[in-house]
């Protein structure tokens, strides 16, 4: 039991050290690109795009951008770590160890959560110098930040498990993650969309993560934070069960 715990902690540490060893690429680059988004979209988008009269567009946009950066980086961390391990063939070292499929999965998710949170906190700190960001419900902020990075860490693990070359992973990132992120209400309120697009947005799980997080920061949201919590938690549970089960069966790993 203690040996298993030590093994899990070792893999968690390794996953965190891996991305910290290339922190310019994994932490500072997303910080800069998100601040550019804030600068450019904050200038060109009309004030009414937030859908809330009481908020400036900058204020509306910032929590969405933080969430976008957190979810994209959480996804990148677990997916790129796994695909690199496959390409370099060092995944075998992990598969030869006594670590359980659940422990391997959770450790990769921990790495993703740490990177996602680091990026999110860095953006919040730097952006707060010119966009006021009063946190209305801190507990909701923490819950959605954690849950979202966990979900995207799990999704990244699943994508990394499925992909057997970088090209496949890039396709997943560009044709699944990016559209779901951009259509999740990061840049606008769902309330201003035509009915068809509103309905499409309800089917996007990323929308509930962004909306719940925005509620925690600003105290306003398109749907109830409880609904967002239920959808996000349910998504995480199903995703985790599927991924761990595939890993335990040796899908794409144990030939």
């Amino acid at each position: 039991m203690i040996a298993s715990y030590r093994g899990f902690i070792t893999l968690c540490r390794k996953e965190v050290q891996r991305f910290l060893s290339v922190s310019v690429q994994t932490v500072f680059a997303p910080l800069v690109s998100t601040l550019l988004y804030l600068l450019i979209f904050g200038q060109v988008m009309p004030e009414g795009a937030s859908g809330f009269d009481t908020l400036s567009y900058h204020q509306f946009l910032l929590p969405g951008l933080i969430m976008m950066a957190m979810l994209q980086n959480a996804f990148s961390n677990s997916s790129s770590s796994l695909i690199q391990s496959k390409m370099y063939r060092n995944l075998d070292l992990l598969l030869l160890s006594p670590l359980s499929p659940l422990a391997i999965f959770l450790a990769f998710v921990v790495g993703a959560v740490v990177r996602g949170l680091m990026v999110g906190i860095a953006i919040a700190v730097v952006a707060s110098f010119w966009v006021p960001m009063p946190v209305t419900h801190l507990a909701w902020v923490i819950v959605f930040a954690l849950l979202t990075t966990m979900v995207l860490g799990a999704l990244g693990f699943l994508a990394g498990l499925w992909a057997d070359k970088y090209d496949k992973l890039a396709a997943f990132q560009n044709f699944v993650i990016l559209p779901l992120t951009f259509l999740s209400g990061v840049f606008y309120s769902v309330a201003i969309l035509p009915p068809v697009w509103q309905t499409a947005t309800w089917l996007n799980p990323f929308f509930y993560m962004v909306d719940g997080f925005r509620y925690g920061v600003l105290g306003v949201s398109d749907v109830s934070p409880w609904l967002s919590l239920a959808v996000t938690f349910g998504f995480m549970l199903v995703l985790s069960m599927v991924t761990v089960s595939l890993l335990a069966r040796g899908w794409k790993t144990r030939r």
């Binding site: 030590r6 075998d92 992990l94």
Partner: protein, 309 residues
């Protein structure tokens, strides 16, 4: 025989594995005793690496069971993996961590912390990696990477070490150093399982040998018994005169020839006087005749070549 030695290091029962329509292993069963130095031989595609990967848990068998010191590699995988170390055939890379850190991480997966660091340092010294401990894998040569793989397989002090083609592409000096180190581990009680294409290595090192062909076990025996059971014996005949010609009746038995020297492959038990009589009848002047022991390579070739069966 006590209870501990009664348990096999590796027990393989009716293991079957196919890749799509290709049968890699067709119901293989064998037992490897504790403390043995065991060779698993066979031509390319015989199923050696597949079998080794199933033992180590990297490949799942379609049917059958594998136990490591009594622990099933599927249902009791955690305990089974703690008992085995695998040196894979293919080299790996890890660009993010230095060699020493990589070894410490690998030990950590098995539940070891700083208490294992002296052993890791010992491995680095014994395998000639100490000066490279701060470097990463991509900066190392193929031979150095092979040493790192051996160290990685040993960080948790396994009871069974499996080496899949450990000396492929390795220079002679390193090969000799490697075998000296492996012999030391074996002398300390570690069970060593080896696949290699260098049959003289297997003959010198291994007490027991299994030969696979097309996913089936052809032979499982001690090295001596395998050599003794070989149905042929080899006799080197040297005739006087550089232009000597071997009698027609013996041409079919020529195993190899160099100038006026022939190595004949004859059925074991053939009377030598019969051979000498044949030569004399043909007018050949015998200069020298000596018996050559069958090598493992001769046995292997005879068993794995369809033409010779």
């Amino acid at each position: 025989m006590n209870n501990q030695s009664a348990v096999s290091a590796i027990e393989i029962r009716d293991v079957v594995k196919s890749y799509r329509d290709v049968a890699a292993l067709k119901s293989v069963s064998l037992s490897i005793p504790q403390g043995s130095f065991f060779a698993l031989l066979g031509p390319n595609g015989a199923g050696k690496s597949t079998l080794i990967s199933i033992i180590a848990g990297l490949v799942k068998a379609d049917a059958g069971h594998v136990n490591i010191l009594g622990h099933d590699v599927v249902s009791d995988y955690a305990d089974a993996r703690r008992l085995i170390g695998l040196v894979p055939q293919e080299l790996i890379d890890e660009p993010f961590f230095a060699i020493q850190d990589l070894l410490r991480i690998q030990a950590g997966y098995f539940g070891f912390g700083q208490e294992q660091w002296p052993w890791i340092d010992e491995l680095l010294h014994n395998l000639g990696l100490w000066d490279k401990r701060k470097e990463t894998m991509p900066s190392l040569s193929g031979g150095m990477k092979r040493r790192v793989l051996i160290a990685l397989a040993l960080v948790h002090k396994p009871k069974v070490l499996v080496l899949d083609e450990p000396t492929a592409g390795v220079d002679i000096e390193l090969r000799l150093g490697l075998w000296t180190f492996i012999r030391q581990l074996h002398a300390q009680g570690m069970t060593i399982i080896l696949t290699t294409h260098y049959l003289e290595e297997a003959e010198q090192l291994c007490e027991q040998i299994a030969i696979l062909r097309e996913g089936q076990l052809l032979a499982l025996s001690s090295t001596q018994a395998l050599l003794a059971a070989h149905p042929w014996e080899y006799i080197e005949v040297t005739l006087q005169g550089e232009n000597s010609v071997l009698p027609e009746a013996l041409q079919a038995s020529v195993h190899r020839q160099q100038a006026n020297k022939w190595v004949l492959r004859l059925p074991r038990g053939m009377v030598r006087t019969e051979l000498v009589a044949n030569l004399q009848q043909a007018g050949c002047l015998l200069s020298e005749m000596r018996s050559i022991e069958a090598s493992l390579e001769d046995v292997f070739r005879a068993m794995t070549s369809k033409d010779l069966l």
